[in-house]
């Protein structure tokens, strides 16, 4: 969430989202802010989150030697870290 907010080219939206994730209840506030104030960013957020999640999963699998490093490297290079809009 922080990376998404930080990476937004819309600085105002980025600041709003960055504020929303401070303190407890960050997930709920981020979601509320995103859907309520920045609905145009919702699809991008899900793309960003899902891509990050897949990369994290692959990295975790590789870290635990559940997949081979070559496969992990190929996946990670083929699925670069997403860039917020």
């Amino acid at each position: 969430m922080a990376d998404f907010a930080d990476g937004l080219t819309d600085e105002r939206a980025g600041r709003r989202l960055a504020r929303a994730i401070q303190g407890k209840g960050a997930f709920r506030r981020f979601k509320d802010e995103l859907h309520g104030e920045c609905p145009d960013l919702v699809p991008a957020w899900y793309v960003f989150r899902d891509a990050r999640g897949r990369r994290r999963a692959v990295q975790w699998l590789a870290d635990n030697s559940l997949i081979d490093d070559g496969s992990a490297d190929r996946f990670l290079s083929g699925h670069p870290d997403p860039v917020p809009p």
Binding site: G53, A57, D63, N64, L66, D68
Partner: protein, 156 residues
């Protein structure tokens, strides 16, 4: 069969990670571990003839370099096919490691994800106490050495 890391001496360390191990072996003579709670991972894991044969899942908490080193010793030459794994499900499991009462487990044999709870283990029938369980990993395990104390704080 998973070959789990074992240290010499009286204490047996099966999955040394920086996180206290939440290895999912549940007590009991045998069970096919159905992961009915694990989203779309509803297939039953292969039943075992006896608990000490192997441990077929490892906690998703194991994710440090320490864990990685251990895993290299744990699964030499055995890896999963990345294309066959449900990365979404694994990602969701990794994101849901907030509770002490439940953990997501992955089978190193199949890559299937299972939901483990302190109350019911992973098959819904084999209770696991919150303080300890008895399990063994491989033939290298000495009888009686597989008892592991459940960590006070699984999240370290």
């Amino acid at each position: 069969m998973a070959a789990w890391h074992e240290t010499s001496g009286a204490d047996t360390e099966y999955l040394p990670t920086d996180r206290p191990s939440a290895v999912s072996e549940t007590a009991g003579p045998s069970h096919g571990c159905a992961s009915a709670h694990a989203g779309n991972a509803t297939k039953a894991w292969p039943a075992r003839s006896s608990a000490p044969e192997s441990i077929r899942s490892m906690p998703l908490l194991a994710r440090s370099s320490h864990g990685a080193r251990a895993a290299e010793e744990t699964y030499p030459g055995r890896v999963l096919d990345l294309s066959s794994l449900d990365l979404e499900e694994i990602a969701n499991a990794l994101a849901d490691q907030t509770g002490y009462e439940h953990h997501w487990l992955i089978s190193p044999d199949t890559g299937e994800i299972a939901f483990w709870t302190a109350d019911t283990g992973i098959d819904g029938q084999t209770p696991v106490t919150s303080t300890s369980w008895t399990w063994s990993s491989s033939s290298r395990c000495r009888p009686g050495s597989g008892t592991r104390t459940w960590p006070t704080s699984p999240m370290g």
